[in-house]
Amino acid sequence: MPHLTVAANQKAFTTLFNAIRDDFIFEDADSANLGPLTASYHIKFHLANGSVDLRSDNTVQVSELDIKWDILDLTLAFDIPEQCFGGFCIIPTPFGCALEFPEVCLFSDNPDLEVTLPLGGITSEVSLTGSLKPTYFVNPDRPAGMNDWDAQDADPPLYNKWQIFLVPEFVDVDPIDVADTVGDLLEAAVNTLVDDLLSFLPDFIKDFIKAALGSAIDILRLVLDIPDDIQEFIENLLNVSLGLVNIIAQAIIDHFASDSPLAEIEDPYPILGEAENPNGAPPPSLVPVKIPIRDLTIFNNDVEMVLQANVG
Protein backbone atom coordinates (compact mmCIF):
# COMPACT_ATOMS: atom_id res chain seq x y z
CA MET A 1 0.00 0.00 0.00
CA PRO A 2 1.44 3.43 -0.90
CA HIS A 3 2.36 5.67 1.99
CA LEU A 4 0.45 8.65 0.67
CA THR A 5 -2.72 8.89 -1.36
CA VAL A 6 -4.35 12.09 -2.57
CA ALA A 7 -7.51 12.04 -4.66
CA ALA A 8 -9.28 14.93 -6.38
CA ASN A 9 -12.81 14.62 -7.69
CA GLN A 10 -14.08 16.07 -10.95
CA LYS A 11 -14.78 19.45 -9.34
CA ALA A 12 -11.31 19.71 -7.80
CA PHE A 13 -9.67 18.50 -10.98
CA THR A 14 -11.60 21.04 -13.03
CA THR A 15 -10.44 23.76 -10.66
CA LEU A 16 -6.86 22.64 -11.29
CA PHE A 17 -7.42 22.53 -15.02
CA ASN A 18 -9.03 25.96 -15.10
CA ALA A 19 -5.98 27.42 -13.40
CA ILE A 20 -3.60 26.24 -16.11
CA ARG A 21 -6.14 27.06 -18.80
CA ASP A 22 -6.30 30.63 -17.57
CA ASP A 23 -2.51 30.73 -17.43
CA PHE A 24 -2.26 30.19 -21.17
CA ILE A 25 -1.48 33.12 -23.46
CA PHE A 26 0.12 32.54 -26.83
CA GLU A 27 1.52 35.20 -29.13
CA ASP A 28 3.30 34.66 -32.40
CA ALA A 29 4.10 36.38 -35.66
CA ASP A 30 5.41 35.04 -38.94
CA SER A 31 5.01 35.36 -42.66
CA ALA A 32 4.86 33.20 -45.74
CA ASN A 33 5.67 34.03 -49.35
CA LEU A 34 2.94 32.72 -51.59
CA GLY A 35 4.05 33.87 -55.01
CA PRO A 36 2.63 37.32 -55.71
CA LEU A 37 1.25 37.44 -52.22
CA THR A 38 3.15 37.68 -48.96
CA ALA A 39 0.94 36.88 -45.98
CA SER A 40 2.00 37.81 -42.48
CA TYR A 41 0.21 37.16 -39.25
CA HIS A 42 0.37 38.45 -35.73
CA ILE A 43 -1.71 36.37 -33.38
CA LYS A 44 -2.41 36.40 -29.69
CA PHE A 45 -5.00 34.26 -28.00
CA HIS A 46 -6.01 32.84 -24.67
CA LEU A 47 -8.23 29.98 -23.63
CA ALA A 48 -11.58 30.05 -21.87
CA ASN A 49 -14.51 27.86 -20.92
CA GLY A 50 -14.48 24.22 -22.00
CA SER A 51 -15.80 21.17 -20.20
CA VAL A 52 -13.53 18.65 -18.47
CA ASP A 53 -14.43 14.99 -18.29
CA LEU A 54 -12.46 12.38 -16.36
CA ARG A 55 -12.91 9.11 -18.23
CA SER A 56 -12.80 5.53 -17.12
CA ASP A 57 -10.03 4.63 -19.57
CA ASN A 58 -7.46 6.71 -17.64
CA THR A 59 -7.82 9.65 -20.00
CA VAL A 60 -9.11 13.17 -19.60
CA GLN A 61 -11.24 14.81 -22.27
CA VAL A 62 -11.54 18.56 -22.61
CA SER A 63 -14.27 19.64 -24.98
CA GLU A 64 -15.30 22.95 -26.51
CA LEU A 65 -12.35 24.86 -25.14
CA ASP A 66 -12.66 28.37 -26.51
CA ILE A 67 -9.76 30.05 -28.27
CA LYS A 68 -10.34 33.73 -27.63
CA TRP A 69 -8.52 35.75 -30.25
CA ASP A 70 -7.09 38.86 -28.65
CA ILE A 71 -5.14 39.64 -31.82
CA LEU A 72 -5.61 38.03 -35.20
CA ASP A 73 -4.04 40.41 -37.65
CA LEU A 74 -3.50 39.19 -41.17
CA THR A 75 -1.32 41.39 -43.34
CA LEU A 76 -1.50 40.80 -47.05
CA ALA A 77 1.16 42.29 -49.30
CA PHE A 78 0.28 41.98 -52.99
CA ASP A 79 2.71 42.28 -55.84
CA ILE A 80 0.26 42.98 -58.64
CA PRO A 81 1.67 42.73 -62.18
CA GLU A 82 2.25 46.14 -63.64
CA GLN A 83 -0.67 47.36 -65.73
CA CYS A 84 -0.10 50.17 -68.27
CA PHE A 85 -2.81 52.14 -69.96
CA GLY A 86 -2.81 54.90 -72.63
CA GLY A 87 0.26 56.19 -74.40
CA PHE A 88 -1.61 56.66 -77.63
CA CYS A 89 -2.87 59.64 -79.55
CA ILE A 90 -6.53 60.51 -79.36
CA ILE A 91 -6.50 63.38 -81.90
CA PRO A 92 -3.75 63.01 -84.48
CA THR A 93 -2.95 66.01 -86.77
CA PRO A 94 -0.49 66.42 -89.64
CA PHE A 95 1.61 68.33 -87.24
CA GLY A 96 1.60 65.79 -84.61
CA CYS A 97 -0.71 64.57 -81.88
CA ALA A 98 -3.14 67.23 -80.72
CA LEU A 99 -4.38 65.22 -77.76
CA GLU A 100 -2.53 62.32 -76.33
CA PHE A 101 -3.82 59.81 -73.84
CA PRO A 102 -0.92 59.70 -71.38
CA GLU A 103 0.58 56.35 -70.52
CA VAL A 104 -0.32 55.45 -66.98
CA CYS A 105 1.30 52.43 -65.36
CA LEU A 106 -0.14 51.06 -62.18
CA PHE A 107 1.17 48.49 -59.68
CA SER A 108 4.83 49.18 -60.38
CA ASP A 109 5.91 48.80 -56.78
CA ASN A 110 6.59 45.64 -54.84
CA PRO A 111 4.46 45.21 -52.93
CA ASP A 112 1.81 47.34 -54.52
CA LEU A 113 -0.69 46.86 -51.82
CA GLU A 114 -0.21 46.05 -48.15
CA VAL A 115 -3.29 45.76 -46.06
CA THR A 116 -3.73 44.52 -42.48
CA LEU A 117 -7.03 42.90 -41.76
CA PRO A 118 -7.90 42.97 -38.05
CA LEU A 119 -9.73 39.69 -37.74
CA GLY A 120 -9.61 39.40 -33.92
CA GLY A 121 -12.53 39.40 -31.57
CA ILE A 122 -13.70 36.04 -32.81
CA THR A 123 -13.74 32.70 -30.97
CA SER A 124 -12.48 29.37 -32.22
CA GLU A 125 -12.72 26.01 -30.51
CA VAL A 126 -10.37 23.21 -29.61
CA SER A 127 -10.93 19.84 -27.99
CA LEU A 128 -8.29 17.53 -26.61
CA THR A 129 -7.90 14.15 -25.03
CA GLY A 130 -4.90 13.34 -22.90
CA SER A 131 -3.61 11.42 -19.97
CA LEU A 132 -1.99 12.39 -16.70
CA LYS A 133 1.72 11.79 -16.40
CA PRO A 134 4.16 12.48 -13.56
CA THR A 135 7.66 13.67 -14.36
CA TYR A 136 10.57 14.37 -12.09
CA PHE A 137 12.15 17.75 -12.76
CA VAL A 138 15.81 18.06 -11.83
CA ASN A 139 16.59 21.75 -11.64
CA PRO A 140 19.46 22.32 -14.09
CA ASP A 141 20.51 25.56 -12.38
CA ARG A 142 21.11 23.93 -9.02
CA PRO A 143 24.81 23.74 -8.21
CA ALA A 144 26.16 20.31 -7.42
CA GLY A 145 26.20 19.66 -3.72
CA MET A 146 23.62 22.34 -2.84
CA ASN A 147 21.50 21.03 0.01
CA ASP A 148 17.72 20.89 -0.20
CA TRP A 149 17.20 23.79 2.20
CA ASP A 150 19.52 26.15 0.34
CA ALA A 151 17.74 25.11 -2.86
CA GLN A 152 14.41 26.05 -1.33
CA ASP A 153 15.70 29.39 -0.07
CA ALA A 154 17.31 30.38 -3.36
CA ASP A 155 15.62 33.10 -5.37
CA PRO A 156 14.29 31.74 -7.62
CA PRO A 157 14.02 28.39 -5.82
CA LEU A 158 16.30 25.68 -7.18
CA TYR A 159 14.64 22.61 -5.73
CA ASN A 160 13.78 19.54 -7.72
CA LYS A 161 10.14 18.69 -8.03
CA TRP A 162 7.55 16.26 -9.20
CA GLN A 163 5.31 17.66 -11.88
CA ILE A 164 1.98 16.33 -13.08
CA PHE A 165 1.07 17.11 -16.64
CA LEU A 166 -2.01 16.56 -18.73
CA VAL A 167 -0.32 15.27 -21.86
CA PRO A 168 -2.59 15.70 -24.89
CA GLU A 169 -2.67 12.68 -27.14
CA PHE A 170 -5.28 14.04 -29.48
CA VAL A 171 -5.91 17.70 -30.23
CA ASP A 172 -8.64 18.85 -32.56
CA VAL A 173 -8.57 22.53 -33.46
CA ASP A 174 -11.58 23.72 -35.38
CA PRO A 175 -10.63 25.74 -38.48
CA ILE A 176 -10.68 29.48 -37.94
CA ASP A 177 -13.92 31.02 -39.17
CA VAL A 178 -13.51 34.70 -39.97
CA ALA A 179 -16.36 37.15 -40.12
CA ASP A 180 -18.18 37.38 -43.46
CA THR A 181 -17.36 41.07 -43.62
CA VAL A 182 -13.71 40.28 -44.34
CA GLY A 183 -14.37 40.42 -48.09
CA ASP A 184 -15.70 43.94 -47.74
CA LEU A 185 -12.59 44.98 -45.83
CA LEU A 186 -10.28 43.66 -48.52
CA GLU A 187 -12.29 45.13 -51.38
CA ALA A 188 -12.35 48.51 -49.71
CA ALA A 189 -8.57 48.37 -49.28
CA VAL A 190 -8.01 47.61 -52.98
CA ASN A 191 -10.41 50.33 -54.08
CA THR A 192 -8.63 52.85 -51.88
CA LEU A 193 -5.29 51.80 -53.35
CA VAL A 194 -6.46 52.25 -56.93
CA ASP A 195 -8.01 55.59 -56.10
CA ASP A 196 -4.76 56.73 -54.53
CA LEU A 197 -2.71 55.57 -57.49
CA LEU A 198 -4.94 57.42 -59.96
CA SER A 199 -5.54 60.49 -57.88
CA PHE A 200 -3.38 62.76 -60.04
CA LEU A 201 -5.31 61.97 -63.25
CA PRO A 202 -8.34 63.70 -64.68
CA ASP A 203 -11.60 62.02 -63.78
CA PHE A 204 -12.35 60.78 -67.31
CA ILE A 205 -9.01 58.99 -67.51
CA LYS A 206 -9.49 57.61 -64.02
CA ASP A 207 -12.89 56.26 -65.01
CA PHE A 208 -11.46 54.74 -68.15
CA ILE A 209 -8.72 52.89 -66.27
CA LYS A 210 -11.00 51.71 -63.52
CA ALA A 211 -13.39 50.37 -66.13
CA ALA A 212 -10.52 48.51 -67.74
CA LEU A 213 -9.30 47.07 -64.40
CA GLY A 214 -12.67 45.97 -63.25
CA SER A 215 -13.71 45.63 -59.62
CA ALA A 216 -11.40 45.06 -56.73
CA ILE A 217 -12.31 41.39 -56.80
CA ASP A 218 -11.39 41.29 -60.48
CA ILE A 219 -8.00 42.75 -59.66
CA LEU A 220 -7.33 40.24 -56.93
CA ARG A 221 -8.52 37.38 -59.03
CA LEU A 222 -6.24 38.61 -61.78
CA VAL A 223 -3.31 38.48 -59.41
CA LEU A 224 -4.00 35.55 -57.22
CA ASP A 225 -6.49 33.47 -59.00
CA ILE A 226 -8.61 33.58 -55.89
CA PRO A 227 -12.18 32.45 -55.77
CA ASP A 228 -15.10 34.82 -55.64
CA ASP A 229 -15.55 34.12 -51.97
CA ILE A 230 -12.96 36.27 -50.24
CA GLN A 231 -14.00 34.91 -46.86
CA GLU A 232 -13.19 31.38 -47.96
CA PHE A 233 -9.89 32.56 -49.40
CA ILE A 234 -8.86 34.23 -46.13
CA GLU A 235 -9.88 31.21 -44.06
CA ASN A 236 -7.89 28.90 -46.30
CA LEU A 237 -4.94 31.24 -46.04
CA LEU A 238 -5.05 31.21 -42.24
CA ASN A 239 -5.81 27.56 -41.69
CA VAL A 240 -3.80 25.91 -44.46
CA SER A 241 -1.27 28.18 -46.11
CA LEU A 242 -0.09 29.81 -42.90
CA GLY A 243 -0.80 26.64 -40.91
CA LEU A 244 -2.36 28.40 -37.96
CA VAL A 245 -4.38 25.32 -37.04
CA ASN A 246 -1.19 23.35 -36.56
CA ILE A 247 0.50 26.23 -34.74
CA ILE A 248 -2.42 26.48 -32.32
CA ALA A 249 -2.42 22.73 -31.74
CA GLN A 250 1.31 22.67 -31.06
CA ALA A 251 1.10 25.65 -28.69
CA ILE A 252 -1.64 23.94 -26.71
CA ILE A 253 0.27 20.65 -26.61
CA ASP A 254 3.41 22.43 -25.38
CA HIS A 255 1.46 24.32 -22.73
CA PHE A 256 -0.26 21.33 -21.21
CA ALA A 257 2.41 18.68 -21.80
CA SER A 258 5.53 20.52 -20.71
CA ASP A 259 5.07 24.18 -19.76
CA SER A 260 2.25 24.24 -17.22
CA PRO A 261 1.91 21.32 -14.85
CA LEU A 262 -1.43 20.71 -13.17
CA ALA A 263 0.44 20.34 -9.90
CA GLU A 264 3.99 20.56 -8.64
CA ILE A 265 5.33 18.87 -5.56
CA GLU A 266 8.64 20.06 -4.22
CA ASP A 267 11.03 17.22 -3.45
CA PRO A 268 11.86 16.79 -0.66
CA TYR A 269 8.53 18.15 0.42
CA PRO A 270 8.35 20.59 3.37
CA ILE A 271 5.80 18.81 5.55
CA LEU A 272 6.42 21.22 8.45
CA GLY A 273 7.24 24.81 7.69
CA GLU A 274 9.82 27.00 9.37
CA ALA A 275 9.24 27.43 13.09
CA GLU A 276 10.42 29.87 15.68
CA ASN A 277 13.64 28.90 17.41
CA PRO A 278 12.53 27.90 20.92
CA ASN A 279 15.83 29.17 22.31
CA GLY A 280 15.61 32.53 20.58
CA ALA A 281 17.90 33.85 17.86
CA PRO A 282 20.29 33.12 16.35
CA PRO A 283 19.05 31.62 14.17
CA PRO A 284 15.55 33.07 14.49
CA SER A 285 13.85 30.10 12.89
CA LEU A 286 14.20 26.35 12.50
CA VAL A 287 14.52 24.79 9.08
CA PRO A 288 11.41 23.26 7.52
CA VAL A 289 11.07 19.52 7.91
CA LYS A 290 11.31 17.89 4.51
CA ILE A 291 10.33 14.41 3.41
CA PRO A 292 11.53 12.79 0.19
CA ILE A 293 8.72 11.80 -2.16
CA ARG A 294 9.34 8.63 -4.13
CA ASP A 295 7.52 6.35 -6.59
CA LEU A 296 4.91 8.94 -7.46
CA THR A 297 2.17 7.60 -9.70
CA ILE A 298 -1.02 9.14 -10.95
CA PHE A 299 -4.11 7.84 -12.67
CA ASN A 300 -7.74 8.70 -13.09
CA ASN A 301 -11.05 6.96 -13.53
CA ASP A 302 -14.39 8.49 -14.39
CA VAL A 303 -14.80 9.85 -10.86
CA GLU A 304 -11.47 11.14 -9.65
CA MET A 305 -7.76 11.67 -10.14
CA VAL A 306 -5.62 9.64 -7.74
CA LEU A 307 -2.03 10.46 -6.84
CA GLN A 308 0.01 7.98 -4.82
CA ALA A 309 3.54 8.10 -3.52
CA ASN A 310 5.91 6.73 -0.94
CA VAL A 311 7.97 8.52 1.65
CA GLY A 312 11.59 7.78 0.81
Binding site: M1, P2, H3, L4, T5, V6, A7, A8, N9, K11, A12, T15, L16, N18, A19, I20, D23, N147, D148, W149, L262, A263, E264, I265, E266, Y269, P270, I271, L272, G273, A275, N277, P278, N279, P282, P283, L286, V287, P288, V289, K290, I291, N301, V303, E304, V306, L307, N310, V311, G312
Partner: protein
Protein backbone atom coordinates in the same frame (compact mmCIF):
# COMPACT_ATOMS: atom_id res chain seq x y z
CA UNK B 1 -16.25 3.09 -3.92
CA UNK B 2 -14.22 6.15 -4.83
CA UNK B 3 -11.99 8.05 -2.43
CA UNK B 4 -13.90 11.26 -3.10
CA UNK B 5 -17.47 10.00 -2.91
CA UNK B 6 -18.17 12.41 -0.05
CA UNK B 7 -15.55 15.09 -0.51
CA UNK B 8 -13.67 17.05 -3.14
CA UNK B 9 -10.19 16.13 -1.96
CA UNK B 10 -9.08 13.06 -0.08
CA UNK B 11 -5.71 12.51 1.54
CA UNK B 12 -4.45 9.50 3.46
CA UNK B 13 -1.22 8.64 5.24
CA UNK B 14 -0.43 5.00 5.67
CA UNK B 15 1.05 3.95 9.00
CA UNK B 16 4.52 2.99 7.71
CA UNK B 17 4.78 6.23 5.78
CA UNK B 18 3.65 8.21 8.79
CA UNK B 19 6.36 6.61 10.92
CA UNK B 20 8.93 7.58 8.31
CA UNK B 21 7.66 11.15 8.46
CA UNK B 22 8.00 11.12 12.26
CA UNK B 23 11.57 9.88 11.81
CA UNK B 24 12.37 12.81 9.53
CA UNK B 25 10.83 15.21 12.04
CA UNK B 26 13.04 13.76 14.78
CA UNK B 27 16.16 14.16 12.65
CA UNK B 28 15.41 17.62 11.30
CA UNK B 29 13.74 19.17 14.33
CA UNK B 30 15.40 17.47 17.30
CA UNK B 31 14.48 20.33 19.64
CA UNK B 32 10.91 19.10 19.49
CA UNK B 33 11.96 15.86 21.18
CA UNK B 34 14.88 16.88 23.41
CA UNK B 35 14.75 19.21 26.40
CA UNK B 36 17.68 20.16 28.57
CA UNK B 37 19.20 22.98 30.56
CA UNK B 38 21.67 25.33 28.89
CA UNK B 39 24.77 23.63 30.32
CA UNK B 40 23.67 20.20 29.16
CA UNK B 41 22.62 21.61 25.80
CA UNK B 42 26.16 22.90 25.42
CA UNK B 43 27.52 19.48 26.38
CA UNK B 44 25.39 17.06 24.39
CA UNK B 45 27.68 14.17 25.39
CA UNK B 46 26.18 14.52 28.87
CA UNK B 47 22.61 14.03 27.64
CA UNK B 48 20.91 10.71 28.25
CA UNK B 49 20.47 9.85 24.58
CA UNK B 50 22.81 10.62 21.73
CA UNK B 51 20.99 12.84 19.24
CA UNK B 52 21.59 11.98 15.60
CA UNK B 53 20.34 14.97 13.65
CA UNK B 54 20.24 15.60 9.96
CA UNK B 55 23.41 17.52 8.95
CA UNK B 56 21.28 20.58 8.08
CA UNK B 57 20.61 21.08 11.78
CA UNK B 58 24.30 21.78 12.34
CA UNK B 59 24.78 23.67 9.09
CA UNK B 60 21.96 26.07 9.95
CA UNK B 61 22.91 26.16 13.62
CA UNK B 62 19.50 24.88 14.66
CA UNK B 63 19.38 23.74 18.27
CA UNK B 64 19.54 20.09 19.19
CA UNK B 65 17.55 20.70 22.33
CA UNK B 66 14.90 23.05 23.60
CA UNK B 67 16.65 24.81 26.47
CA UNK B 68 14.70 24.77 29.72
CA UNK B 69 15.20 26.43 33.08
CA UNK B 70 17.28 24.87 35.82
CA UNK B 71 15.54 22.75 38.40
CA UNK B 72 15.47 25.04 41.47
CA UNK B 73 17.31 23.96 44.60
CA UNK B 74 15.19 25.50 47.34
CA UNK B 75 16.87 27.98 49.62
CA UNK B 76 19.82 28.52 47.31
CA UNK B 77 20.72 30.57 44.31
CA UNK B 78 21.52 27.37 42.40
CA UNK B 79 19.58 25.13 40.08
CA UNK B 80 20.22 21.57 38.95
CA UNK B 81 20.79 20.67 35.34
CA UNK B 82 18.49 18.05 33.88
CA UNK B 83 17.40 16.60 30.55
CA UNK B 84 14.28 14.93 29.20
CA UNK B 85 14.36 13.20 25.83
CA UNK B 86 11.89 11.38 23.64
CA UNK B 87 13.11 8.80 21.15
CA UNK B 88 12.10 5.63 19.30
CA UNK B 89 8.70 7.06 18.40
CA UNK B 90 6.44 4.49 16.79
CA UNK B 91 2.89 5.25 15.64
CA UNK B 92 0.20 2.62 15.17
CA UNK B 93 -3.11 3.54 13.55
CA UNK B 94 -6.19 1.48 14.41
CA UNK B 95 -6.38 -1.50 14.27
CA UNK B 96 -3.50 -2.11 16.65
CA UNK B 97 -0.86 -4.28 15.11
CA UNK B 98 2.58 -2.78 15.62
CA UNK B 99 2.45 -1.29 19.14
CA UNK B 100 1.54 -3.54 22.06
CA UNK B 101 -0.26 -1.33 24.54
CA UNK B 102 -0.09 -1.92 28.30
CA UNK B 103 -3.24 -3.24 29.94
CA UNK B 104 -4.21 0.24 31.18
CA UNK B 105 -4.64 1.52 27.62
CA UNK B 106 -5.63 -1.67 25.83
CA UNK B 107 -7.47 -2.33 23.60
CA UNK B 108 -6.91 0.53 21.22
CA UNK B 109 -10.30 2.09 20.55
CA UNK B 110 -11.59 2.61 17.00
CA UNK B 111 -10.61 5.92 15.43
CA UNK B 112 -7.58 6.14 17.69
CA UNK B 113 -3.86 5.79 17.28
CA UNK B 114 -1.24 4.64 19.71
CA UNK B 115 2.30 5.86 20.07
CA UNK B 116 5.15 4.05 21.77
CA UNK B 117 8.07 6.20 22.84
CA UNK B 118 11.22 5.82 24.83
CA UNK B 119 11.39 8.50 27.51
CA UNK B 120 14.80 9.20 28.92
CA UNK B 121 15.58 11.70 31.59
CA UNK B 122 18.14 12.51 34.19
CA UNK B 123 19.46 15.05 36.65
CA UNK B 124 23.08 16.02 36.42
CA UNK B 125 24.88 15.36 39.68
CA UNK B 126 27.74 17.82 40.38
CA UNK B 127 31.13 16.44 41.45
CA UNK B 128 31.24 15.92 45.20
CA UNK B 129 34.24 18.18 45.62
CA UNK B 130 32.59 21.04 43.75
CA UNK B 131 29.44 20.61 45.77
CA UNK B 132 31.38 20.77 49.02
CA UNK B 133 32.91 24.04 47.91
CA UNK B 134 29.49 25.57 47.36
CA UNK B 135 28.14 24.88 50.83
CA UNK B 136 27.22 28.36 52.09
CA UNK B 137 28.74 29.73 55.29
CA UNK B 138 26.44 30.63 58.18
CA UNK B 139 24.49 33.82 57.62
CA UNK B 140 25.33 36.61 60.02
CA UNK B 141 22.51 38.91 58.98
CA UNK B 142 18.92 38.25 57.93
CA UNK B 143 18.74 40.17 54.64
CA UNK B 144 15.36 40.26 52.88
CA UNK B 145 15.22 38.16 49.69
CA UNK B 146 15.99 40.17 46.54
CA UNK B 147 12.97 41.24 44.51
CA UNK B 148 12.84 40.03 41.82
CA UNK B 149 14.88 36.97 42.62
CA UNK B 150 18.07 36.68 40.56
CA UNK B 151 18.30 33.97 37.90
CA UNK B 152 19.36 30.60 39.17
CA UNK B 153 23.03 29.73 38.86
CA UNK B 154 24.02 26.38 37.39
CA UNK B 155 26.10 23.96 39.37
CA UNK B 156 29.30 22.50 37.99
CA UNK B 157 28.50 19.63 35.67
CA UNK B 158 29.12 16.12 36.79
CA UNK B 159 27.56 12.90 35.63
CA UNK B 160 23.98 12.90 34.38
CA UNK B 161 22.12 10.18 36.20
CA UNK B 162 19.88 8.86 33.45
CA UNK B 163 16.91 6.55 33.34
CA UNK B 164 14.84 5.40 30.38
CA UNK B 165 11.25 4.24 30.36
CA UNK B 166 8.84 2.96 27.80
CA UNK B 167 5.80 5.16 27.52
CA UNK B 168 2.60 4.68 25.59
CA UNK B 169 0.23 7.28 24.28
CA UNK B 170 -3.23 6.88 22.87
CA UNK B 171 -4.95 9.65 21.04
CA UNK B 172 -6.23 10.78 17.73
CA UNK B 173 -6.18 13.55 15.21
CA UNK B 174 -8.75 16.30 14.88
CA UNK B 175 -9.35 19.28 12.67
CA UNK B 176 -9.17 22.61 14.41
CA UNK B 177 -9.17 26.13 13.05
CA UNK B 178 -6.63 28.73 14.11
CA UNK B 179 -6.82 32.24 12.66
CA UNK B 180 -8.97 31.01 9.80
CA UNK B 181 -6.62 28.17 8.84
CA UNK B 182 -7.64 24.58 9.36
CA UNK B 183 -5.08 22.28 10.91
CA UNK B 184 -4.99 18.56 11.49
CA UNK B 185 -3.63 18.33 15.01
CA UNK B 186 -2.86 15.28 17.12
CA UNK B 187 -4.44 15.04 20.57
CA UNK B 188 -3.73 12.82 23.53
CA UNK B 189 -6.25 10.97 25.65
CA UNK B 190 -4.20 8.28 27.38
CA UNK B 191 -0.64 8.14 28.70
CA UNK B 192 1.03 5.32 30.52
CA UNK B 193 4.55 4.78 31.77
CA UNK B 194 5.22 1.17 32.58
CA UNK B 195 7.11 -0.48 35.40
CA UNK B 196 7.53 2.41 37.81
CA UNK B 197 6.95 2.13 41.52
CA UNK B 198 5.65 3.51 43.72
CA UNK B 199 2.38 4.34 41.99
CA UNK B 200 2.54 7.99 43.06
CA UNK B 201 5.88 8.46 41.29
CA UNK B 202 4.47 6.85 38.18
CA UNK B 203 1.44 9.12 38.27
CA UNK B 204 3.56 12.20 38.81
CA UNK B 205 5.86 11.38 35.92
CA UNK B 206 2.91 10.54 33.70
CA UNK B 207 1.30 13.85 34.57
CA UNK B 208 4.48 15.76 33.81
CA UNK B 209 5.10 13.90 30.55
CA UNK B 210 1.48 14.39 29.53
CA UNK B 211 1.81 18.14 30.08
CA UNK B 212 4.94 18.22 27.92
CA UNK B 213 3.23 16.21 25.20
CA UNK B 214 0.04 18.29 25.21
CA UNK B 215 1.58 21.73 25.48
CA UNK B 216 4.83 21.33 23.61
CA UNK B 217 5.34 18.26 21.43
CA UNK B 218 1.92 17.75 19.85
CA UNK B 219 1.29 21.39 18.89
CA UNK B 220 4.56 21.25 16.98
CA UNK B 221 3.21 18.38 14.91
CA UNK B 222 0.16 20.23 13.55
CA UNK B 223 -0.15 20.08 9.81
CA UNK B 224 -1.98 22.87 8.02
CA UNK B 225 -4.78 21.60 5.83
CA UNK B 226 -3.44 23.26 2.73
CA UNK B 227 -0.13 21.48 3.27
CA UNK B 228 -1.88 18.19 3.89
CA UNK B 229 -3.59 18.52 0.54
CA UNK B 230 -0.09 18.30 -0.86
CA UNK B 231 -0.22 21.72 -2.41
CA UNK B 232 -2.17 20.07 -5.15
CA UNK B 233 -3.89 23.36 -5.70
CA UNK B 234 -0.91 25.62 -5.36
CA UNK B 235 -1.51 27.13 -8.75
CA UNK B 236 -5.05 28.06 -7.81
CA UNK B 237 -5.12 31.29 -5.89
CA UNK B 238 -8.78 31.66 -5.10
CA UNK B 239 -9.51 28.42 -3.33
CA UNK B 240 -10.46 27.61 0.23
CA UNK B 241 -10.06 24.20 1.86
CA UNK B 242 -12.06 23.00 4.83
CA UNK B 243 -12.82 19.61 6.34
CA UNK B 244 -16.07 17.83 5.60
CA UNK B 245 -18.22 18.33 8.70
CA UNK B 246 -21.70 17.06 9.50
CA UNK B 247 -21.96 14.56 6.68
CA UNK B 248 -23.44 11.29 7.91
CA UNK B 249 -21.45 9.45 5.26
CA UNK B 250 -18.24 10.80 6.84
CA UNK B 251 -18.77 10.15 10.56
CA UNK B 252 -15.10 10.61 11.40
CA UNK B 253 -12.90 13.23 9.88
CA UNK B 254 -10.02 12.77 10.05
CA UNK B 255 -10.64 9.05 10.25
CA UNK B 256 -8.17 6.58 11.68
CA UNK B 257 -8.86 3.17 10.30
CA UNK B 258 -7.29 0.46 8.18
CA UNK B 259 -3.81 1.49 9.39
CA UNK B 260 -4.33 4.86 7.78
CA UNK B 261 -5.07 8.43 8.70
CA UNK B 262 -7.66 9.73 6.25
CA UNK B 263 -8.84 13.28 5.68
CA UNK B 264 -11.92 14.34 3.71
CA UNK B 265 -11.74 17.88 2.45
CA UNK B 266 -14.13 20.30 0.79
CA UNK B 267 -12.96 22.76 -1.80
CA UNK B 268 -14.48 26.11 -2.50
CA UNK B 269 -13.18 27.92 -5.54
CA UNK B 270 -14.13 31.56 -5.84
Amino acid sequence: MAFTDHCDLFASFQEDGFNRIVGYVQQQRPSLFNYATAQLAANPDKLCQIIQPNPIVGIRQNPLVDIVELLPIPGTEFGADFAAQISNVKVDFHPANSVTLPAELSPLQPQRLSIQVKLCGGINCPPEQALEALIPPPKTTADPPPDPPPPLKPLPLGVTQCFCLDAFVTGGVRFKQYSGVWYAEPFLDGFEIVEITPAGLESSLECYAKIIMKLSVLPGLRIALDVMSFQLLQTVIHVQLSPVVGDAAVPNNPAIADDQLKAFIKLEAF
